[in-house]
Point group: C2
Chain length 340, copies 2
DNA sequence: TTGTAGGCGTTATCAA
DNA sequence: TTGATAACGCCTACAA
């Protein structure tokens, strides 16, 4: 049976209040008493009971604000489910969650939303746009005592509590590994990137290239084009590339536009082309089941949402700063047989 | 802000005790009062506060017993970590966990341990041996009011609360999918099974065969042999098979014995052979990094341990019977790039 | 510097 | 059939 503050108080002959002051560094305790209490607590391996803390914390009424650049992007549905699934638990702790979504990547708009939410929130979970102004905003929030957790995208070097999301370089490397295995190390590849202005997309491509260079030297990248995360552009570009490079045997889609790419490939009749993509949206799942995408590399979107809130609650309720600076998701490989 | 029993009591003009009696079906309440309370609770969307429950539950002192056939099997280390990680949370709920491990699959021994633990436990988490006597024991525990959750292995048709573990058929199918992709649908395969007497091993092979038959008709299975989960046998048998079937291009290892199989392959100089295995132990991780195993199919052992305890706590503390009868883990595909 | 007391939400016990 | 009350472990305001 775990030790409680009450027990420690009895054993050291002081009141619960004094033990609380020592264990939570609230000061105003006689050094000798303090030492005695610390010793006993350490010996008995005291660790606060979460339920008790949760209950006591309810009086505080904290609020978490979430900002996602998610509108029109299927991928984020799972992140939102992860967040929603934590709402009951948060509410049990007296913490409410408010989610604000935006479409596209307007820095000005994101700054506005952040400013607005910061008025009523104690902690923000931000799907940040990679821009110096946003970085500055994070540091300013820190000064104002509002903690920030970045989710899905990160800006390193800021005073955020931590980052929860994918390691994009590793995602690209995993895609390279899968593609290398399927093509037997000898393929001619087209890369369908997302947008040149999105850091994660670039990192995936970097990871993909480096892994190929290191482990599959005979793979050749014939072309890199951008889908702008949209299926029409994807289809048009893929069509062009297939014409200009009939020697292509594989395609790596490192962002959205999967449907467009696959359509162009079917229409060209090149069903032997090996396609590897990212993420698992309902449409990608369909393409995998139809064998038009051989494998897709996922980044646990549900867990991203869930974990971010868990860390936020720990911080708000128990004052526990996250152990790690980066909480990195698994890169899950899904093929027809395990996509469910 | 979520509604509490206290608020409902005030609104309906009764005491908290009465509301509690209604909401938890304890009887002894005037039908009219009951209806009024139920109506208000439903309207306000009452849902009990977990922290409050946890605290109140502490007086009960429940105990969970765990039995694992894990000795000498590296795979279970992760399951044990998953269990251990829940100990603090369980203790916060006043629940203690006692783990008993055994070596091998003696039904008699397992029955003894079950009997012993059942004296002091309210719920058992069992890594069951597939035997009618064990099935009978589960049903008997049910009669005695001791709930059972099966973990990693299951006996269907018994009165267990639920099963937490892998879908072995699906695991085999996923291995077939990976192997089919790597060998381009044309390979000559040897299957290194574990033991003929372990149901999961047989199911993996069944899933593997069926998936090959359905999606990779040109793959051929040249031989099936058993490693008895031990590396010497594995090496000797693999060596024999390589001699008798020089045409082999791929091996599926569906249980333990990975080191033995890989050693035989290296010594034969056949480094072109594509090996796919199951699970990720430190030794398998090493083999994957050395490119001697191309891919390995994992079953979230850590999560198995964790989830089983979570479900047990829900049942003991909140009386919540698991929603599903089977909690099936993901079949994770790990290759050099994402094995970590 | 220290102790006391009340409350967070739920449950259990005892009294009415 | 009901209500009052005391726990569970923690935190905090206030009193000493």
């Amino acid at each position: 049976m775990a030790v409680t503050i009450k027990q420690i108080a009895e054993m050291t002959g002081v009141s619960r209040g004094t033990v609380d002051r020592v264990l939570n560094d609230r000061g105003n305790v006689n050094p000798e008493t303090e030492e005695r209490i610390r010793k006993v607590a350490a010996e008995l391996g005291y660790s606060p009971n979460r339920a008790g803390r949760a209950l006591a914390a309810k009086k505080k009424k904290y609020r978490i604000g979430v900002v996602l650049c998610s509108e029109g992007i299927e991928f984020f549905d799972e992140v939102l489910h992860g967040l929603a699934g934590m709402e009951k638990e948060a509410s049990d702790y007296g913490v409410s969650i408010v989610v604000r979504t935006m479409r596209g990547y307007s820095v000005i708009q994101q700054l506005d939303i952040i400013e607005e939410l910061s008025q009523e929130c104690n902690l923000l979970i931000l799907n940040v746009i990679n821009d110096a102004r946003i970085a500055a905003a994070i540091d300013e929030l820190y000064e104002r005592g509002i903690a920030v957790i970045t989710i899905n995208t990160d800006i390193e070097g800021t005073k955020r509590l931590c980052y929860v999301g994918s390691d994009y370089v590793r995602s690209g490397a995993t895609a390279a590994g899968v593609l290398g295995l399927i093509t037997g190390g000898k393929g001619t590849i087209a890369i369908a990137g997302g947008s040149e202005s999105i850091l994660g997309h670039l990192k995936r491509i970097e990871g993909f290239r480096d892994e190929l260079a290191e482990h599959f030297p005979e793979e050749r990248i014939a072309e890199l084009f951008y889908t702008e995360d949209n299926d029409e552009t994807a289809q048009k570009e893929m069509d062009r590339v297939l014409r200009e490079h009939p020697e292509i045997t594989a395609v790596y889609i490192s962002a959205a536009g999967q449907i467009g790419v696959c359509k162009a490939i079917s229409e060209s009749g090149r069903n032997d082309i090996c396609v590897v993509s990212c993420d698992r949206t309902p449409s990608v799942e369909k393409l995998v089941k139809e064998d038009r995408i051989r494998a897709t590399i996922c980044q646990q979107p549900f867990t991203q949402g869930k974990r971010a809130v868990e860390l936020a609650l720990q911080y708000l309720i128990n004052g526990i700063v996250p152990e790690k600076e980066r909480y990195i998701m698994k890169n899950e490989i899904r093929i027809r047989e395990n996509i469910e």
